[in-house]
């Protein structure tokens, strides 16, 4: 999970195993709100990777990933922006 990472600050995200919904890791556990997510420095990645492995083993989440933030603290890539804010069309 860590190998391809570029950048300085990240959020830890995943999908909830039961519902499949997108979640972010906060100080109180997993939340669907990225604004509450812990901002992780690049040198803290390994610690949070261990947390994600444990959370996967507990069958809480699947498919964990680190979401890169830009200098202003916003989600950087379009894919992750869409993943965070939901579908881009009104249904």
């Amino acid at each position: 999970m860590v190998k391809k990472l570029q950048g300085e600050t990240f959020l830890l995200s995943a999908n909830e195993l039961r519902s499949g919904k997108v979640v972010f890791f906060t100080s109180k556990g997993w939340s669907s709100s990225s604004s509450e997510a812990i901002k992780i420095k690049v040198d803290e990645i390994e610690r949070y990777e261990e947390i994600s492995i444990e959370e996967e083993k507990k069958c809480i989440i699947i498919s964990p990933k680190f979401v890169e933030l830009d200098d202003a603290g916003n989600i950087k890539t379009l894919r992750d922006k869409i993943r965070n804010s939901g579908i881009t069309i009104k249904i």
Binding site: L17, R18, S19, G20, K21, V22, R79, I82, I87, I91
Partner: protein, 275 residues
């Protein structure tokens, strides 16, 4: 419209039960995601950007009103009130919960539907002309042929682990409303000298390498169609690449070998099927 036999009903019911057991084992941690993923994919369940996605087969795009109502019921009860009809005549639900997927499959089985072979490297749902059986210049209704091929390909032991997914379309007239030419195999029902048979195309596809299918047979008597499909699939199974996902589709194999060479391999396998 095809009606399930008692055996069909038993198979689908036991498949739902089997998947329910697999989901429970996953939720209890007795199956890892690595172990569970191929099992869920065999039942049409993906994990996508926002959530799980369940793809349900609509054989050759034909739905009864009872089935359509059941799909609407599932959309309201288990999803967000809508579904997505795909270009290959299936329907996808984009927000199902893993825990509820076995219930959805059980609901579908009550109207003779399922999600088997809507994912994975196998022969997918057979698609056809949406005007099949209605259009004036049709040589023959392609839907019975779709059904014959569906029955032949469902749970086919030799073709359940192909190099990549495999899509077949059948049409019965000159207008290609099913986009038959961009399928792995495209079949067009034609008439030659008062005999009805198939004109056969192979190696079409869309995606990152769009290719128009090449004609492999001008005419094949219809009685031989399953033997010929078997010959194409056998050739692909033996010769297709498994080392690179982007080069694993039959369109790449046909392009690399050339249609002449590919045809000669298929014809050799075709004649073997009669021995």
């Amino acid at each position: 419209m095809y009606k399930y036999s008692d055996i069909d009903k038993k198979i689908i019911a036991s498949r739902v039960k089997q998947f329910e057991n697999q989901v429970n084992r996953r939720l209890e941690g007795r199956l890892t995601e690595e172990e569970f993923k191929p099992l869920r994919l065999m039942n049409g369940l993906y994990l996508q950007l926002h959530a799980y996605m369940l793809r349900i087969a609509i054989p050759y795009g034909e739905l009864s009103s009872k089935q359509l109502r059941k799909i609407a019921f599932i959309a309201d009860k288990y999803d967000r009130g809508y579904g997505h009809f795909t270009t290959r005549q299936n329907i996808q639900f984009n927000w199902p919960k893993l825990l509820e997927v076995p219930e959805i499959l059980r609901e579908l089985s009550s109207v003779e539907m399922h999600a088997i072979q809507t994912s994975g490297n196998c022969i997918r749902n057979i698609s056809s002309d949406h005007l099949a059986g209605l259009t004036l210049n049709e040589i023959e209704d392609p839907r019975p042929w779709c059904e014959i091929i569906r029955k032949w390909s469902t749970f086919h032991p030799e073709f359940s682990f192909l190099p990549r997914k495999f899509k077949i379309a059948v049409i019965g007239c000159t207008e290609d409303r099913a986009a038959m030419l961009v399928h792995d195999i495209g079949l067009r029902i034609i008439k030659r000298k008062n005999q009805v048979g198939f004109e056969i195309f192979v190696g079409g596809g869309q995606g990152r390498t769009p290719i128009i299918g090449k004609k492999i047979r001008d005419f094949l008597p219809k009685k031989d169609i399953l033997n010929y499909l078997e010959a194409i699939l056998t050739t692909y199974n033996q010769e297709g690449r498994r080392d690179n996902i982007y080069k694993a589709r039959i369109k790449i194999l046909v392009r690399e070998l050339g249609i002449k060479k590919f045809r000669s391999l298929v014809e050799k396998n075709f004649f073997k099927t009669f021995k």
